[in-house]
Symmetry: C2
Subunit: 191 residues, 2 copies
């Protein structure tokens, strides 16, 4: 990955080569994996401290002799998956893949998560969704999501809404999904 | 609980009565339960949005027909247990019970957690430990913890250190462990 940069091709050629590398690397990688990788990169480079919360699990039986959980179940989530600190601010967001090419179904977001979003925005959090639709990644501001719900009876957000109202997260080499670059544009304009 | 306040006893009597109620309610309640209750209270009263992170678990086998996890194990923690937003700030902390009456063993804190503490402090987080020692609850600032480690070869923090350098969290009726009141004193002096 780094060696590609070191080859020092003429700029145009390099850009082309990098693009093909990016496409190859990304193919089939889930949005969650892309964000986890970005977070590892941000941590290593001391850009931000952001983690995915562990999946909430209800534990019923533990075999303590082997330190093994033998009976457990998945609990519902009431918050978003990722949170942490960036540029001194509390950041809290969720990643969602849309399986439809025409719109993002709002049923993807639990009712508790909407409540959570309203609560943290009120306290001054930076909060958003990262939505993968048609293999394009958009940052949907929490405030825009709430506005959409309040002013629409639609049960999904059309693809065009993302194109017209959200900033797209461009894929690059490292990290592949540099979503904090878009956070800079959207939340820290010109700072 | 609320009815106690509504009885409207003369102040002195009420204070006495409340104290006995507090003692009774707290007896045997773990520090984790006390903090979870406080966080529920803060959420209800719209004071702060702070959650305990789910325990990280590695899943090996799932019986999808019954939506049941049949084989899993506890993973090591690399961050602190609680995080969220308070007064617009990122807050991130850990709760620890000391079983010794004379000191708090530093082996209670994992190496990864010290790294985590340093990282988040650098980014501007409010971070601390809440330590239960002798059934007294102290807020130990992350900065003070790091100073202690740098300037000591001791493997534990003596009880007197807490008494002399930390603010004690007084128990009250609701929430029982109002730790954000101490956060106000320590981090938002006079604001």
């Amino acid at each position: 990955m780094v060696s590609v940069i070191k080859l020092n091709y003429p700029l145009k050629t390099r850009a082309k080569y990098e693009k093909s590398v990016v496409d190859y690397r990304n193919r089939g990688m889930s949005l969650e994996s892309l964000i986890n990788r970005a977070n590892e990169y941000y941590l290593e480079e001391d850009v931000a401290v952001i983690y995915k919360k562990p999946t909430p699990i209800g534990i019923i039986d533990v075999d303590y002799s082997r330190n093994k959980i033998t009976n457990a179940y998945f609990k519902d989530k009431s918050t978003f998956d990722y949170n942490g600190i960036y540029r001194g601010k509390y950041i809290d967001f969720e990643a969602k893949e849309s399986h439809s090419k025409t719109s993002f179904p709002l049923s993807n977001i639990h009712k508790h998560q909407f409540t959570h979003l309203r609560q943290i925005l009120k306290h001054g959090a930076i909060s958003f969704l990262i939505v993968n639709i048609r293999n394009e990644y958009y940052l949907l501001k929490g405030e825009d999501l709430i506005d959409f719900i309040s002013s629409n009876t639609r049960k999904s957000i059309p693809y065009d809404f993302f194109r017209e109202n959200c900033v797209r997260i461009e894929e690059k080499l490292r990290p592949t999904l540099d979503y904090l670059k878009v956070v800079d544009v959207v939340y820290f304009k010109g700072e």
